[in-house]
């Protein structure tokens, strides 16, 4: 229902309404990179040294899952994907803000660094930038019918 109408025949107009074209191409690539990086690192950490910092490594694995969902849903870009992306990226934003703040207030809380520690400084602050850009992009490409949502 939120797929652009076929009478929207101007290419640029259509492109503005999809999440996987234009700037969305870069956004999906960045999410994919974070998904690959966080998934492999957390899997290795959980497999080899989970007991050293169960909370931090579980959080990283959770972050990895969120990145995978964001990558897939933004790349697909249909109505259902947009809804899932909006929810999961909102959770991602809350996660990086809470974990980032906690890691500054109480550096010992997580024993080891998680992806979201220090707002993702280890990943060049990409974990902080991505959800902000992601939510902005979802809003920017929002089909007019869905204007009420979020």
């Amino acid at each position: 229902m939120s797929v652009p109408n076929s009478d929207d025949d101007v290419t640029t107009a259509v492109n503005e309404r999809v999440t996987n074209r234009g700037f969305g191409r870069i956004l999906v690539a960045l999410y994919a990179i974070m998904a690959i990086g966080a998934t492999t690192r957390s899997l290795f950490a959980i497999a080899t040294k989970f007991n050293q910092a169960p909370l931090a490594y579980s959080l990283s694995a959770f972050a990895a899952l969120v990145y995978i969902i964001a990558t897939v849903t933004l790349a697909r870009g249909d109505a259902t994907s947009r809804r899932i992306a909006t929810v999961s990226i909102s959770i991602e934003l809350i996660g990086v803000l809470v974990v980032g703040a906690l890691s500054l207030i109480d550096p010992g809380a997580f024993q080891k660094a998680s992806v979201w520690s220090w707002f993702g400084l280890e990943y060049l602050l990409l974990p902080l930038a991505l959800p902000i850009l992601g939510l902005w992009w979802l809003r920017h490409t929002r089909p007019s019918e869905e204007a009420v949502e979020v």
Partner: protein, 121 residues
Amino acid sequence: MTGLFANLIMGVAVALAVWAAVLAAANKRITRSLLIGAAVLEVMLLAYLIGGVVQMIGTDRSFAKFEFLAYLVGLLIIPPLGIAWAWDEKSRSGVAVVAVVFLVVPIMVVRVQQVWAGVGA
């Protein structure tokens, strides 16, 4: 795994990233010469993987070997995947994706070196 060849890979990757960024700034799409550059980098990354495996077999030091291999294989796979994802994008974002992907290469080479040296992650 450290040394001249690794530095050369990082230098080539950064140069290609700058080149792709310049193309993006000029509102261009992926060019044939950029692809040739990417192919050269890919050959270097293949040699890096082979060299890494040979050195890994040749040492009895203990380090995170699976992680080491994952990074080396990832290095080989990520640039082509990025270019494929960028390929049919009509706007300048396509070549910008290529710039991002090339920038990931030096970061991953540094991680390969850290894992090789046994620096914990």
